[in-house]
Amino acid sequence: MQRLGASLIFFIFAATLPAATTHWSLKPIKRVEVPKDANAIDFFIGNKLQNKSLKFSAEADRATLLRRVTLDLTGLPPTPQSVAAFVRDSRNTNVVFAEAVNALLASPRYGERWAQHWLDVVRYADTHGFEVNTPRANAWPYRDYVIRAFNEDKPFNIFAFEQIAGDSVGEQAGTGFLVAAAVLLPGQIGKDEASKRAARQDALDEIIVGTCDTFLGLTVGCARCHDHKFDPITQKDYYAMQAFFAGVTYGERQIETEETKKNQATTKLLAERIQKLDLQLRAFGPDVFSGRTIVIDDEDTRFTTHLKDKQGHGTNPDGTKRGYLKDPGDDKRLPNLSRGRYTWWKHTPGEDIFTYNPAATGRFRIWLSWGVHGSGVHTRDARYVLDRDGNLKTTNDQQEIAKIDQYHLFGISKGETEKKPLWSGIYDAGTHELTQKSRIILRGGKTGTGVTADVIILQESSDTTAKLDPPYLRRAPDTILNIEKFLPVKAKFVRMTFHETMDNFRHEPCIDELEVFSALTNSVNLALTRYGTKATSSGAWNNSQHKLNHINDGQYGNEHSFISSWKTNGWVQLEFTQAQLINRIEWARDRNLRHRDRLAIRYTIQTGLTTNDWQTVATEKDRLPFGTPTASTRFAHRLLSKENVAKVNKLEAERKRLTAERDHLAKPRRVYSGQFIDAGPTYVLRRGNAEQRMDRINARVPAVLGKLGLKLGENEQNRRVALAKWIASPENPLTARVMVNRIWQFHFGTGLVSTSSDFGRNGTKPSHPKLLDWLASEFIRSGWSIKHMHKLIMLSDTYRQSNRMNGEGRKVDADTRLLWRFPSRRLEAEAIRDSILFVSGNLNLEAGGPGFSFFKTRGGLSGFPPVTDFTKKEFRRMIYQHKIRMEPVPVFGAFDAPDAGQAMPRRKQSTTAIQTLNLFNSPFVNNQAAAFANRIVKETGDDIGKQVARAFQLTFGRQPTPIEAKAAIASAKTHGLATLCRVLFNSNEFLFLP
């Protein structure tokens, strides 16, 4: 399970520790054996009590015990059912209690509670802190990693190692520890070099101080400027420690884990499935348009004439909004056909500017488009005039076919237009008779000073076009697959001619397979050589990947493709053994999706019974121009028959689902866990001033603690690995002591060493030094198992005592440091909030991932206004909040929740009127009280006595006393059940660990 076995880490442990130093915490851990059958904790605690003539208190009753242990391990109260079962169980309390502890330790709720203790120590937050306090979007994977580590009981030595050098063992998230502190972002640091160096020095200081506080309980911060006055840490020691971290910078890294590798594999599979769906969907595309289609871009010199010099172009802005460059259209609106820009001229009223010359005889329906800009100069009445004979001097053949407001997008006639050059969309100018010479004149309007031209579309009039608006246009040709469907035609020959390839004829066209399908129920690809079909061409490449007969070898992809030797007007031809009835042709550049070049964007496909009677069955002309954004498949499918709509909808829904899944998995997972660089040598700084370098210094641990023997200039990761190994070593007298003391503190409220991040001379001495050492050695012996330590502690008589005060104890030891009773205390902010939600029935147990926000907006002038309309996501456990550094969480922040500015190894326990106001009056608590009342009614019905009993069971895990019941029933009758619920959430019994 763990990639790094404890033995593997430590057998190359090279550090030595000094045999004896004067200060207790630096001496080796000494295990004093306790009498057989004695519980070590009770033995040491009991001895000390005896010395002071004190006694243990009696064991707490079972209901209290279960409440205590459930809140302690999970931060949530026990359910009435679990209390009832626990109290009723006839077996010995030792057995029943051990089972309960085991079950709670196995619950995911345990990690969510105990990870918070660790996050307090490392000052975790989801923002960078300081004045700008911008989000640190990918901090949360570290939070999730810590929760997982607690839940999986990751051995603490490995956990500690990963905090400092997790990147060396593939646990990228672990080093989130190193960069958990607030940091100034580049924009907040002065532009001058001195400011930058000073800021960097501050950022490094956080890493050094954080590491030493957290694992070693050593305060080294003051040695930044001078030798430590109390502990044997010199200024040189400080900068030697800095050398370990000199290459650690605040930033994100990509996560590479088993999970992400698995995700990559899944992503690939999904991509293949999506591709299959794509191909299936394309089969529903419309038939080739039977008449002629002419698309004329304003910049297509073959079909346009400038009558005066243009002023310039308006380039559509990048984006997908209507009229923008990548506007994908929808099922009613065409995507942006403008090819990215329009042309514009200055004009005077009535002046002829420009003509479109379709050069086609017949009846055509005409659609116009133009350039839009909100600058105000665009004419509101540009004229479009059909000149039938094409001679602009004769005017009696002219007919105005449209008057266009070029200030607005098509279909809009009021209000402001964005001050950006946009594509208008298309306007139907009606059906008109054209000759080969006819032209469409763009004529200046009476208003404005500028006129624009953009693409127009002409489509031969037929029954289909008469019904259609917008015009009948198939999807643009693409590299993946192009399907040409047409009415059945008898053919012995099929020829495809390539007029133009993408990128302005730069390359010869490539086709991986040209497929021709028979118009039969069991349609087959007649092109295959297996049917005796023969391929010829105007010339083709001939190498292992590209040859002529790859055109019909039945194999897709670049490796089995045909490339014409002609850049333009080359052709490839298939000859069947006999004339066949065909109705579908499919072709692509690379159906395997890897190559996106060499696409034929203008082409003709013809059939014939001989090579003298060619009949065109498909061209690109009725397709949207190449490059038209077609992100939306809806437009392509608007011509579907009714029975096919359902099929397509189903396929598209499936495609959407798979795409979402793929996008989610494919997103690179990143974690804010530092970036590691080669930062060059480290120097001692005079008085901590980054401008005053003294001697160069090598990475080493404080001299008093030992030697690592790293060579000068050791590489960045090796330096951290060496330090991490040294910290995580069983020989290190501090690591195990500091951690067991933290565990003890979170169970009893105070550590054996009350200054849990300071084991130096300035910290307090352990109240029970032998017990501390026994626990530390037991911690190491157990394989650094935190859950083992929980069990040891919680199953002791010491932990199971009643919390009642007694006169004797109070006189001798009012602070309960000697543990003659269980020290009761107020729950932390998280436990209070989560318990309220748990009891009201609203707690959302969705685990992991980006945090939810307690605030409507973040920072700036308005500060952080609290969310007041709650949804399910705000009801997740508080550890899953998007933690804003320094900003107190609404309502619960007042309960001494740390601000993640400085490390908070032990929380304060203050009692304030502001807490009271928040808990009694806030909409959050009152909403939950109402929800709680609804829950009770749902569970118990209308009997008010039952309702009150249930309320007490859910909040306190017990029945009300007669006095309580009487008062509660009276209150609920007059003021409603929600009032009782509000009171219960505010009661001391609910808020204190019993």
């Binding site: 004045e131 506080d213 001798v812 309580e964 009032t979």
Partner: protein, 486 residues
């Protein structure tokens, strides 16, 4: 440097050694009580959890009881207010010799004369700028310190430094330290009130009034004349009768619980906190209700200025501040200026200083002056120490291509008045161009030390042990500025 840890830190250590060696606990108890008399022990247990804001005695007799801080967020220029530099007028448009080519925001331009005219005020003839005529008219009552320096040239960290003594996030604010030490004279109101500017919160926001690692009870409570304390009143859907009934029921349940858990001070403290909250529900709306203020007072502050809404709102904040001081609130911090918005809403005049200060000056000047004058006329200045300050100064040059000044932590001015302050003095000086403090230079820690001193607190003995450090407001620095003491 003097020394790195307080005497008190050492004595604490000795005490621990003593406790460890002592065979009986008696010696230790005797010593503890001895220490208690000498100094305020940094021990939260000494604070009655049921009455955390009960007034506590200082280390020695105090000159001041309350503190009012007017904080001009965004770095209000010393050169456009109190630090008169005739040489700068002479050198207008010339480059600063040996000056920094690049400052906080970018390349430096040439020296620029003060953007307002200066003229003498009062008997002392103190030269003050035309931007602050109302305040200047009281110059005879003020003590100016012209030689302050900051540890940071960035707004957030610099505000942290002014308000907490550290540029880093996470340290207790001045007000938190002071209410921790002294409690309050009025337990029905928050002991420490932060009054944000009507335009928004300052750059370092809550850090300016945060508790850091002190108990949350000592944090500042933010509210102003527009924005009441959050959750002060129950939701509107809850009637007064129901609210009272809920309180009664809660009291009954808590009393029953306390009976089963006798002697637990924390339980009693929580019960008491509901009583305090109930009193606060009455006292806070009462104190925030300015409708009882007479017309001439509203007029004096500018609270009736219908043409300048921001000024009127800031003036209301100033009236609120006076009312809080009047009621014995220990520490009141009034903010003038909001978050950095290119100087639009605070004093951060990088680009068009004169244009922006023409807006900010009138908002700040009259109401602030009225606040001080009002305190004086009511006799409250005898017990109240007033500090006008900002996070750092501004450069004597304009920024290249701009008409504004960049950040300058090297020299800036603060103004003191009120209890224990010598009137009409100007102490310390910047160089003749106002670039750097050169005479009687004072890191802002010295001002912290002076503040505490006037409150009867020895800044070296007001400490809390946190993560191995005896933390104090003055870090390891601080000297009382005797020259401004009465």
């Amino acid at each position: 440097m003097k020394h790195d840890l307080s005497n008190h830190g050492r004595s604490l250590l000795n005490r621990r050694d003593f406790l460890g060696q002592s065979a009986t606990g008696l010696g230790a108890i005797a010593l503890t009580s001895l220490l208690n008399k000498q100094s305020l022990l940094a021990d939260p247990l000494k604070i009655d959890p049921a009455r955390p804001h009960a007034a506590r005695l200082p280390h020695y007799p105090a000159k001041a009881k309350n503190v009012l801080v007017i904080f001009c967020a965004g770095a209000c220029s010393q050169l456009e207010t109190w630090d008169y530099k005739p040489e700068l007028i002479k050198h207008d448009g010339q480059p600063l010799k040996d000056g920094p080519p690049v400052t906080f925001q970018g390349p430096s331009g040439n020296l620029a004369r003060p953007q307002y005219e200066f003229r003498p005020y009062g008997q002392t003839g103190k030269m003050c700028s035309d931007m602050v005529p109302h305040l200047a008219s009281m110059a005879d009552d003020f003590a100016f310190i012209h030689s302050l320096t900051s540890k940071s040239n960035t707004h957030g960290p610099a505000e942290n430094y002014i308000s907490t003594g550290f540029a880093l996030d996470g340290f207790p604010s001045m007000g938190a330290w002071i209410t921790y030490a002294l409690g309050s004279e009025n337990e029905d109101l928050p002991a420490f009130v932060a009054i944000p500017d009507p335009r928004g919160v300052p750059q370092a926001s809550v850090n300016n009034w945060g508790p850091g690692f002190l108990p949350a009870v000592f944090q500042g409570t933010p509210f102003n004349s527009n924005q009441p304390i959050q959750n002060l009143q129950p939701p509107k859907s809850i009637s007064k009768k129901t609210d009272l009934a809920a309180r009664d029921l809660l009291k009954l349940l808590n009393d029953q619980h306390l009976e089963r858990n006798p002697g637990d001070a924390n339980l009693a403290a929580r019960i008491a906190s509901y009583e305090l909250a109930a009193r606060m529900q009455l006292s806070v709306p009462e104190i925030s209700d300015l409708s009882t203020e007479p017309k001439h007072i509203l007029n004096m502050y500018g609270a009736d200025d219908t043409k300048n809404e921001v000024k009127a709102d800031y003036a209301k904040n100033c009236i609120l501040a006076r009312r809080l001081i009047e009621k014995g609130v220990r520490f009141v911090q009034v903010f003038n200026g909001a978050y950095a918005t290119a100087g639009r809403l605070n004093w951060d005049g990088h680009q068009k200083l004169r244009e922006q200060y023409d807006v900010h000056g009138p908002i700040m000047d009259q109401p602030t002056a009225a606040l001080i004058r009002d305190l004086k006329q009511r006799g409250l200045l005898q017990d109240t120490l007033v500090l006008w300050c900002t996070e750092f100064g501004r450069m004597p040059m304009f920024q290249k291509g701009a008409k504004g000044r960049d950040h300058n932590p090297g020299g800036f001015t603060a103004v003191l008045t009120g209890a224990g302050i010598k009137s009409g003095v100007s102490h310390g000086a910047t160089d003749e161009l106002g670039f750097k403090a050169v005479e009687d230079v004072h890191p802002f820690h010295d001002l912290h030390a002076t503040l505490l001193h006037l409150l009867g607190l020895d800044h070296e003995n007001l400490t809390v042990l946190h993560n191995g450090f005896e933390r104090r407001l003055t870090d390891v620095h601080g000297h009382v500025i005797k020259e401004v003491l009465a």
